[in-house]
Structure formats: C-alpha cells, structure tokens
Amino acid sequence: MEPILHVSNLRFHYQPDALSKERWALKDIQLTVGAGEYVSIIGPNGSGKSTLARIIAGLYLPTEGDVHVCGRATSNEHELWQIRRRVGMVFQNPDNQIVAPTVQDDVAFGLENMGLPRDEMKARVAQALQWVGLAGMEEREPHHLSGGQKQRLAIAGVVAMQPDIILFDESTSMLDPQGRAEVCQLIKSIHERGTTVIHITHSAQEAFMAERLIVMAEGQIKLDTPVAELYPQAMKLKEWDLDVPLEVELHHRLVKAGWPVRASITSKEDLVSELWRLLSKT
C-alpha cells in the first residue's frame, strides 16, 4: 500500500538565499509513515520538530527534496490546498486556535470554508463534539472553558475536517495534569479510529504511548524505532538530553548493580512484575 506520508532527501533552510548555508533547520530527512500509524517525535528545543511538522502540513515548502502526502507532492501548487485539507494540525496554545464566539461555531469554522452543505456541516459538528466529549456544550463561550476543554475544542475543529493525518505540536504542554490526560486519551482514540497521528512532545511518558518513536536533534532524525524495541535501548535518549522513562532508568541501574533481572523489559508493568518475582523469592 502506498504510504500516507513520504519525505525524501528533505533539507530546509529559513533563509535559502543567504550566502552562508551552514544553519540548516533540517538536513537529510528520510521518513515514510503508513496510513493509520501512531508516531511520536521527541527532541530538544530547536531540533527541527516543529519545522518538520509545518513542512508536512504544506505550510512551508522544502528547500531541497520532496514531501508527498497521500501521493501528492507539496511542491505542486495545485495540490497544496488538497494537502492542507488532508493534514490537520493542533498547536500548543489553545487560546490561539479559537476563533468563534460559541463552541459549535468554532468547530464549524473550517467546514464553512470548505463549502459543505449545511446539513452535512451540522452532522459533522455534532459528531466531532461527541468524539471529544464536549457534546452538550454547543452554545458555551469558548473562553469560559478550561484549558483541557479548549484544546479538545481545537481538536474537534480539526477532526470535523476529516483529515487523514493529524499533527499535534506540543498540544499538551500548556495544560494541567488533568487536561493533559484528557488530550492524551483523545489522541489515542483518534488513532484507534484509523487516523494517522504524529505527536510532537517533550514528555517521555507521552512519547512512549505511540507505536513508533522518532528522535530529532540538530535538524536530523537520529533514531526511528518501534517503541517496543526502544525499551532496551532507551538509555540512549540521554545522549540528546532527553528524559528517559523512570522504569527504564531503574532497570538500567539494577542491571548495573548486578541484580538478576531480565536483560530487557518491555513496559513499566513488566519491570514491576519482575521485581515482585525477585523480592518474593527472598
């Protein structure tokens, strides 16, 4: 099957006409994502994560190389509008993404621009609000919602457009723990309904919820691996000053201290039951 996203030999420079081409924002990016995948991208600030997201969404064009979304090249001006319709983006600050005076108008905003018939629009708004758990709040004013609710409203606006790919660019970083948990749960359910999800985050815990994890640093992809295979080598994340999940760090220390634990673990639950086994024998 054709991949939903294909990036080849991508390089990007914010000032392509500058004489010095030393500071590439992105270099030598090769990336293929299949339909329905759940990918997370982590990396330090300035590593190029958000730039890559904007290129995938067709907001920036590659300086060199190609980006294909659903088989269409972003470099083709006639296809660009189609691509932007296929890729939805949810940003960091919920307050910057809300445009209308009521919840339902806000969800309808994007649909109005698509020129959908009114009935279909109404059905999509209702369905999107249902999905994100805001049904019953149609007439509420968005600025009276909590941070987590506002972000779910922003997600409803994107979901209603029925994109093939949804990019979350640090969409949880301004929320409180409850809002964060709500949005993470929602991201998971969007993936389960078959939408391709790309989630950019600073949180190791959130990144490990995905099926596949990409590490970016200095404008390059440094690591691209299924999360299940990442556990054994997760200490590597420290090389890029990234957080390592606590259970990975503890396991690593116990191995070094000579505990007879299994050489690799696959999850937190796995480490917990391994420790139960060892401590109950004693």
């Binding site: 990396g43 330090p44 600030n45 300035g46 960091q92 909590s146 941070g147 987590g148 640090e170 970083s173 301004m174 929320l175 409180d176 723990p177 409850q178 809002g179 600073h202 190791a204 815990q205 000053d241 990234l242 957080d243 999940p245 606590l246 259970e247 760090e249 503890l250 220390r253 116990l254 201290a257 505990w259 937190k268 639950e269 917990v272 420790l275 139960w276 060892l278 401590l279 109950s280 024998k281 004693t282």
Partner: protein, 287 residues
C-alpha cells in the same frame, strides 16, 4: 522575607450578580528564605493567591503581611509591597520589548530611580544570577532561544532586587534540559541570595524535588500543606484530592500492590528507590 496570610478571602465583583469567591479562609505562613510550591488544578485559586501576595489584588477580608508591610481590604498604598515581591507570570518572555537584553533588564531598576551606574551594576549582576553570558548584553532579546528569553525576563525582575520571587510555571514549554536548568537556577538563587520562592507548578516531580513546603489548593481553599514527604506519603489525602503524584510515587504504588511490608512513598529520586530495593534484597538473602 516572611509571608503571613490570615483569614484571607478574595471575592471577585463582590455584591453583584457576578460575585465569585476565588479564595476562602486562607491561613498560611511562609518562613523567610523558604522554597514553597503551590499546586492545584486549573481554577483552584493559585493565580488569585499569587496576585494577592504580589499586591495586584486586594483581599476582600482578612490580611496579608510580608516583612513589615501589612495589606488589608482598606490598604491604599500597595507600592511598597510590590517593591518586595517580584512575579514572573507564565511565558514571561512574551513581555520582552526592548532592543537589547541589557536595556530590557534595566527597565525595572531604572523606574526605581537608581543612577545609570547603579542600573548597569544591577543588569550585570542579574545576568550573572540567571546564567546569561555578558556577551549577550547587546543582542536583541527576541533573537535568543526560548530558554534564554525566559532568563532575560526573570533577570529583569531580579534586577529590582525583590525579597520574594514568585514564578508561575517557569518550565512550561521548555525541553527537559531547559526545565532542569531553569529549576537549578531558581534553586541556586534561593540558596545563595536567600530569596523566598513561591513556585506555581503542575509538575509534581518539580515540587517534590525542589520545594521544602507544598501548598495544595482546591476550590479556593488550602486542602493540604506539608513537606513533600508528608504530602506524598499521605496516600488517603492524595486519592481524596485526586492529586497527580510524581512518576516515582506511581511506580512505588504499583510495586506496593504486591509487597509486604510496602515501600515508603517518600522516596523521590531513583537513587533512593534503588537503595531501598537493595536493602530489601539483601535482607532477603540473610534469612
């Protein structure tokens, strides 16, 4: 500088149909030079409390004392109080506006009527405190990285030499390394300059690791207060308040489902947890 809050109530739009009680019967004492973390869900009253301490909102009833400045509902002059308390609101870098880093940091002390020489001294000192190299002095603050911009904003507050520093989610949006560096910097300021620090955070890890005292707000009231050990060791209160707990506490709770006797909930670093497991393991060998 000591902060004492007694029977404080704050009601927005009192006596109107829109009246909303934001804080109810707050009693709190923060010892001079201590590091306090303020926790609570969105809407629990954290922002109202820090704005009251900063002298930006007046109490509806009760009183607040910082050093020898007392604020009551009748207080007219809050400018002395404001001189003692510096606040870095969320995303303080959005408030940078000057052409250069040095000019931006100088803005506050210049309003305090200092000589140009004194202002320059304050700028240099504040840059050193937040770990900004002097070479950045003449750069545009808007051309710096996110973490550096935030340091410039905090330096602008420190340059006014407050006795109390309030930080509202200073690590939001920074990467893990930036978060660590920011909190280490705040910890250093607290230790070396004797600043009283009030840290508003959603991150339980930060609170557990850096603060001496935690204050947990819920629906405008103080729901729980104590050292990190007291608060995170109190499993009943944690579940009653639906508080998020540090990742390490979650891991210990998971282990405790099948360990007798349970591990203490008061281990906050992976080193401590490893030592505790190690001693269990050794004890088992001896049997």
């Amino acid at each position: 500088m000591e902060i004492v809050i007694e029977d404080l109530n704050v009601i927005y739009h009192p006596g109107t149909p829109f009246a909303k009680q934001a804080l109810t019967d707050i009693n709190l004492r923060v010892a001079s030079g201590s590091f306090v973390a303020l926790l609570g869900a969105t809407g629990s009253g954290k922002s109202t409390l820090i704005q009251t301490v900063a002298g930006l909102i007046k109490p509806t009833s009760g009183q607040l004392r910082i050093g020898n400045q007392v604020v009551t509902p009748k207080s007219k002059q809050l400018s002395e109080l404001r001189r003692l308390v510096g606040v870095a609101f969320q995303y303080p870098e959005h408030q940078l506006f000057e052409e250069t880093v040095a000019k931006d940091i100088a803005f506050g002390p210049r309003q305090q009527g200092l000589t140009e020489e004194q202002v320059a001294e304050r700028v240099e000192e504040a840059m050193r405190w937040v770990g900004l190299p002097p070479s950045l002095k003449d750069r545009s603050p808007l051309a710096l990285s996110g973490g550096q911009m935030r340091r410039v904003a905090i330096a602008g507050i420190l340059a006014m030499r407050p006795q109390v520093l309030i930080l509202d989610e200073p690590t939001a949006g920074l990467d893990p390394r930036g978060q660590r560096e920011m909190l280490d910097m705040v910890g250093r300021l607290h230790r070396e300059q004797g600043l009283t620090v009030l840290l508003v955070t959603h991150q339980m890890e930060e609170a557990a690791r850096y603060a001496e005292q935690l204050v947990i707000l819920s629906e405008g009231r103080i729901a729980l207060t104590g050292s990190p050990r007291e608060v995170f060791g109190n499993e009943q209160a944690l579940s009653r308040l639906k508080l998020d707990v540090p990742e390490i506490t979650k891991l210990i709770m998971a282990l405790n489902r099948n360990l007798d006797p349970p591990l203490p909930l008061t281990l906050f670093s992976v080193e401590e947890l490893e030592r505790e497991l190690e001693s269990r393991w050794k004890r088992g060998d001896d049997r």
